[in-house]
């Protein structure tokens, strides 16, 4: 008996709610630094602020031990040019990585300078970052002295964008040796180590609390952030946090265009818990956002495409040659030593394969030819990379258990037979986010951001390094500034909003609302954008806000959380449309196509669009490309006191 209906049938009644119910009851917490979101960036932020000796509170929607996209694991520590095996200069590498339109040069510089220090700190905390058991002796990229394992990723080329794979010779690597900037790691050990360290340092962790709003001075938009509210998603208790500095680290928005009402856990690269909450809280408080009009194509999605690693284009599938059903080798890159880590095929190669399939030159389905690999490389890919990556650990475990043996068996690839993502299924959240300065401070006093929460974010080690950095900077601010009063009126308003869905027992359930939002975005803000379609989308979303949100009902604290998440998604979707309306040009790097402004990236539109609310009105602005200035100089000017990796207790 473990399903709900089993229980019902055996007992004759459904189980009681397993947790105490405390709707409307309040708990007040005061901290110097409040961190919202206990994922990778949030944990690192809490640890680094606590190491400055400040009182830190960490609020996490799930349980910090495994929450977030990086909770289950991580196999690539990307962009670590300061590692001892690297053949490039960190500042030059950072500049090289930031030589992409609409990236975040501030975050990249921080990542390249500090993420190797993070890795050493992780090791101090008990994370595994070296082949200490000598399991992979002889694997290419393994350094026998340090036992670090270099990944082929970015060894010569780096680009996720088909057709934009560019080999580059760096001044610091004139002989074009392998760059050696990405390290293979045992990331399943990371999140529990981070939580342990938070606890050891006395961080007060509030698990199962969904933060719902930011509190501002006098309760006004655009003023200093002085705390936040939240709701416990097991008990329904209302949380009031008072803080001197607040760091947002709730990542982006997973499923704006995507929902299956039966498989509600479908998400993209992000955890299902990631629903734009932080971005929307900051938006309501008056913070400025940028690149909100950007969308990506759906990539790895749990429960959907690419759940099963299929090679060539999927991260982590390094060094596995792809063959057709007759064993014929395909010209797909293998993301390995052979092709220096090319992540995706060029458009030419892609075209050749598609034509080959049509002509019968390549027979479907395709397979990952694990048996053709040398034993140590096969083990490194299967056990280390897939085993440590994240949601893939369970894949390899269940495969092993079912009798799969890589030395004997070909692993089926779903590329081509599962089709492409529908173009209207965009991915938000890996583009837009909070605008930050060199302190990772947002445009609001007292509010900082880190990881995927910022505009144009990168990956795991980026979240770690920027989280750690934001923690340092927020602590410095909190140390200087006095406390501030929160506005009771603002708290009361938020309480009324938060608890509205539990006051009803019929109307509209969260899944229907989510599906309605996703459909509006699929229709009106997708592959083909025009002023008219976007305005229709905005109108539809506003209608949902006016007519459907007041019907939302939630039967318990968990469903209340899901309902509130939907309201975040709804607001997030509206921000995307506002930003899309503001960009009157198409853009390749932003994956943004307007039929009414078809010219791709015209010079006058090569700029960031910023967006915020002022007195409740939407206000857009712009910033030039590379607005952060000279990366190395700016970094050094802002970090004169940086002392490298943590040597304290």
């Amino acid at each position: 008996m473990s399903t709900w209906h089993d229980y019902l049938k055996k007992k004759g009644h459904p189980p009681d709610w397993p947790y105490p119910v405390r709707f409307e009851q309040e708990q007040e917490v005061a901290a110097d630094v409040l961190v919202i979101g206990g994922g990778i960036a949030g944990c690192w932020a809490a640890i680094s602020a606590a190491r400055q000796g400040l009182k830190v509170a960490l609020v996490e929607k799930g349980d910090t031990v495994r929450s977030g996209a990086g909770g289950p694991g991580c196999d690539h520590w990307c962009n670590a040019p300061a590692n001892p095996l690297s053949n490039v200069d960190p500042d030059e590498w950072a500049e090289h990585m930031a030589d992409r339109p609409y990236c975040n040069g501030i975050g990249i510089q921080i990542q390249c300078r500090e993420n190797y220090d993070c890795l050493l700190e992780l090791e101090q905390m008990g994370g595994k970052v070296r082949d200490t058991g000598d399991d992979y002796v002889g694997a290419e990229g393994r350094d026998d002295k340090t036992r670090l394992m270099i990944s082929p990723r970015y060894t010569r080329v780096h680009s996720y964008v088909p057709g934009m794979v560019k080999p580059a010779t760096l001044k610091s690597n004139p002989e074009n040796k392998l760059n050696n900037v990405v390290i293979r790691v045992w990331g399943t050990t990371f999140k529990p180590a981070l939580k342990r360290e938070c606890k050891r340092l006395g961080v007060r962790i509030f698990d199962r609390v969904m933060a719902t709003s930011l509190l501002t001075e006098k309760g006004e938009q655009g003023t200093r952030v002085v705390g936040a509210t939240g709701v416990n998603n097991r008990t329904g208790e209302f949380m009031i946090f008072k803080s001197k500095a607040t760091i947002l680290a709730t990542a982006g928005a997973g499923s704006i265009w995507l929902i299956s009402t039966e498989l509600g856990g479908y998400s993209n690269m992000m955890s299902r818990t990631i629903t734009g909450d932080g971005t929307v809280m900051a938006w309501k408080a008056g913070a400025e956002l940028t690149t909100m009009e950007a969308t990506g194509v759906l990539r790895i999605a749990t429960g959907l495409k690419h759940k099963w690693y299929t090679g060539a284009g999927d991260a982590s599938y390094e060094n596995v040659p792809l063959v057709d059903a007759n064993g014929k080798r395909l010209p797909l890159p293998i993301q390995g030593w052979e092709d220096a880590g090319a992540m995706v095929p060029t458009m030419d190669v892609e075209q050749k394969i598609r034509e080959g399939i049509a002509k019968g030159e390549y027979t479907l389905p395709f397979y990952g030819d694990f048996p053709a690999m040398p034993d140590v490389e096969r083990r490194a890919t299967w056990n280390l990379m897939l085993g440590e990556e994240s949601t893939t650990k369970i894949i390899i475990n269940t495969f092993n258990k079912a009798g799969y043996d890589g030395s004997r068996d070909l692993l089926q690839s779903y590329k081509y037979i599962e089709g492409n993502s529908l173009p209207q299924w965009g991915e938000a959240g890996y583009g837009g986010g909070l605008l930050v300065d060199w302190n990772l401070k947002t445009t609001l006093e007292g509010l900082y951001a880190a990881g995927t929460q910022m505009f144009s974010p990168e990956d795991h080690s980026y979240a770690a390094a920027t989280g750690r950095y934001a923690g340092r900077k927020a602590a410095a601010y909190a140390r200087e500034i006095g406390g501030s009063r929160i506005s009771r009126e603002q708290v009361n308003r938020e309480k009324a909003r938060v608890y509205a869905p539990i006051k009803r027992s019929d109307g509209m359930e969260w899944k229907e609302l989510h599906a309605g939002i996703a459909r509006a975005m699929q229709y009106y803000c997708s592959e083909f954008k025009t002023e008219n379609l976007l305005n229709m989308g905005l109108g539809t979303l506003q209608k949902i806000e006016k007519e459907s949100v007041p019907l939302l009902f939630a039967l318990d604290p968990h469903k209340l959380m899901r309902s509130l998440e939907d309201i975040s998604l709804l607001n997030y979707a509206q921000i995307i449309i506002h930003a899309s309306l503001a960009r009157k040009a198409s853009s390749m790097p932003l994956n943004f196509r307007r039929i009414d402004y078809p010219a791709m990236d015209p010079p006058e539109w090569r700029k960031y669009i910023t967006i915020k609310q002022e007195n409740g009105k939407v206000k857009t602005g712009e910033l030039p490309m590379a607005f952060w200035g000279h990366m190395k100089e700016q970094y050094e000017a802002h970090n004169k006191d940086y002392t490298g990796f943590y040597k304290g207790k």
Binding site: L263, G264, W308
Partner: protein, 98 residues
């Protein structure tokens, strides 16, 4: 055959469970309940019994519940039919599905 009372129950959410518990091995420690970032499970009202799958439709299929269980065999992952992957024996050409 004992006659079971038939209840009126709405359609069961599908897939109805991302995992299967083995009540003979599971001691109801609720580690899986705590590590799940989605709160798919709830603790069983009866102490020592396997958790109850309350929100199977929200599962992220990340597998932490199974990975973290301290009692091998107490909880097993159950891929939904549409998620079950394939492999092929290179020598014999025999196809398998998980």
């Amino acid at each position: 055959m004992t006659k079971e009372k038939l209840m009126a129950i709405p359609n069961v959410t599908t897939p109805s469970s991302p995992v299967v518990f083995n009540p003979d091995i599971c001691d109801g420690c609720n580690t899986c309940v705590e590590v799940c970032q989605i709160d798919v499970f709830m603790p069983n009202p009866e102490k020592g019994k396997p958790p109850i799958v309350l929100h199977p439709d929200e599962c992220w299929y990340g597998g932490c519940c199974v990975n973290e269980c301290p009692r091998p065999g107490a909880i097993e992952f159950k891929w939904a039919l549409q998620h079950r992957g394939y492999w092929k024996n290179k020598a014999t050409g025999e196809i398998h599905q998980i």
